[in-house]
């Protein structure tokens, strides 16, 4: 693995420094390794994201206009330590409290909770909404054991837009909770990423196998299946999402007429060409089922280095979520104009 880096042990620090340069004045470096917007208005309910580095452009690439106010950045694949969470919390807080919105991983929960304790010592109110969109990581009755994967992109987009006008932390928390509840993802992987500091692959998989339901670090899901065509696999992935909406007693099944966002994500090395080929089939399946695809996101946004694989995420929209989706937004990796992408 020839990587374009300097010191393998400094990649997380250097990439965040680079990210600040990419933001070119919109954001600044705070504390040990956080990135925070410069123009957070007084009295705004703040939105903080974060997690391990190495999954770029998330999580820290989702800071921006009508997006997150800041991100607490961990080292490669490691949750940010509590002090980093606290430094970011302090920097984004404008007196109305801070919503933590991040993927449900043991390390993140432990460290963000410790960070929140430090913040509460300084009288900063913090709430936490965990993202657990990966349907292959636990059954619907055990959502607290589910991982957060690519579904965080539409969720953060919507919460970021809502945070611009949220009257209170309660209001933003409720909205984020709703977006999480309506978002489900399935990922698959064909080959591993590597750990920059060691060059080692993050997992092993046979040449003729695909990990169905795999997490973004290579955590197992449904199991290994024989290598399949893009069409076959797209159908299988959507079936898992449909089945989950169906089984989950907290939400209605996906039904004809429902409006959704569809997000087709690359885990790294999988090309846009492949994403588009998978998207072609996914769209056909959704149309056939009478689901209305309100808008589409496609690209390598939630990655694990040069891991090959894709994920589908579906967020069911109501009028409120749609309103926030349609607001424009801008960050180094994810921007849109007012309205839908599609005409």
């Amino acid at each position: 693995m020839k990587k374009l880096i300097n010191n393998p042990l400094k990649v997380a620090d250097e990439l965040v420094e680079g990210l600040v340069e990419a933001y070119n004045g919109e954001c600044r470096h705070v504390g040990t390794r956080s990135i925070v917007k410069n123009d957070i208005p007084d009295g705004k309910v703040a939105l903080l994201v974060g997690g391990g580095s190495g999954h770029e452009p998330i999580y820290h690439g989702l800071v921006g206009r009508n997006l997150a106010d800041g991100a607490a950045c961990g080292d490669i694949f490691a949750a940010p330590p509590p002090n980093i969470v606290f430094e970011a919390t302090e920097a984004v807080n404008r007196g109305k409290g801070v919503l933590y919105l991040y993927g449900n991983y043991a390390g993140d929960v432990l460290n963000f909770d410790l960070g929140a304790e430090l913040a509460s010592d300084e009288d900063i109110e913090v709430r936490t909404i965990l993202i657990w969109d990966d349907v292959c990581s636990a059954p619907p009755t055990e959502k607290k054991n589910r991982r957060g994967i690519a579904g965080l992109v539409p969720i953060v987009k919507i919460a970021g837009a809502a945070s611009q006008s949220a009257a209170s932390l309660d209001e933003l928390e409720a909205l984020a909770k709703k977006a999480v509840l309506q978002t489900r993802s399935v990922g698959v992987s064909m080959s591993p990423g590597s750990i920059p500091a060691t060059g080692k692959p993050t997992f092993d998989i046979d040449e003729d196998k695909i990990g169905l339901g795999m997490g973004i670090h290579g955590e197992p899901g449904v199991g290994e299946i024989p290598m399949a065509t893009a069409d076959d696999l797209s159908v299988q992935m959507l079936d898992l999402i449909f089945a989950d909406f169906e089984k989950d007693e907290e939400v209605a099944a996906l039904a004809p007429g429902d409006e959704i966002l569809l997000f087709v994500n690359s885990l790294g090395a999988t090309t846009m060409m492949e994403l588009l080929i998978a998207l072609r089939k996914a769209k056909a399946v959704l149309v056939e089922r009478g689901i209305r695809v309100h808008d589409v996101i496609v690209g390598p946004l939630v990655t694990c280095q040069e891991m090959a694989g894709i994920s589908f995420s579906i967020t069911r929209l109501d009028e409120e979520l749609k309103k926030y989706w349609e607001m424009p937004c801008q960050s180094v990796c994810f921007s849109k104009m007012e309205g839908r992408y599609g005409g």
């Binding site: 042990l9 040990t32 330590p81």
Partner: protein
């Protein structure tokens, strides 16, 4: 020639030796976490122990307990990940329980491990049998309580053996916490990475006290 008790600066040197041992063991820890987790445990521990060395080397501490608190703070604030928070909690809570004395004996060792382990379990929610470092910590803490009146070198020998046995026992467990939990039965047959780290640290403490 073993040590029945350690001075504050010996405690510091013992933890520096443990830090070196972990740094040296990075590939072992990486492989353990690659098998069951996301493969970053080795690098994370190396980062944590590098911070520990910076925090301890050439420094004087007012008490043995404060050495452990400094170890925990360095790990917690440099590592991140599950193990940063867990090891941070272990040494910070455990260090506070060691108290402000200037001798570190088997009694202080027992306090360190008992309180540290309890707080780790409270913080992380893992119980024995969940295939986490708790499976090395609980037997180590139990054994330390049993041998709390022995000379430190002898006590550490027994505790290191218990930690190693706990690590070995973790091979036969099915992961239910952390990133390995979705492996289910596939997690059988391999030790938990955090338990490996615990056994390496305790073994290094034993070796220091034995010398």
């Amino acid at each position: 020639m073993g040590k029945a008790s350690l001075t504050i600066s010996e405690v510091r040197d013992m933890m520096l030796a443990a830090a070196d041992k972990i740094i040296e063991s990075e590939p072992i820890l990486t492989d353990a976490d690659r098998a069951l987790g996301d493969g970053d445990h080795g690098v994370g521990m190396e980062r944590g122990m590098t911070a520990v060395k910076e925090a301890l080397a050439g420094k004087d501490f007012p008490s043995a307990g404060k050495v452990f608190v400094a170890v925990g703070t360095a790990m917690m604030s440099s590592m991140g990940g599950a193990s940063g928070a867990i090891f941070g909690t272990l040494f910070r809570s455990g260090g506070k329980a060691v108290g402000e004395g200037d001798a570190f004996t088997a009694k202080e060792l027992a306090a360190l491990l008992r309180e540290g382990t309890d707080q780790v379990m409270a913080r992380g929610g893992a119980k024995p049998g969940d295939k986490t470092m708790v499976d090395a910590l609980v037997p180590a803490a139990d054994k330390a309580a049993e041998v709390a009146t022995l000379p430190l070198d002898e006590a550490l020998a027994a505790v290191a053996e218990a930690a190693a046995a706990g690590r070995d026992a973790s091979e036969g467990m099915i992961a239910t916490m952390g990133r390995a939990k979705t492996l289910g039965e596939n997690s059988l047959g391999k030790p938990d990475a955090g338990a490996v780290s615990v056994s390496i640290i305790v073994a290094a403490m034993r070796d220091y006290a034995a010398a």
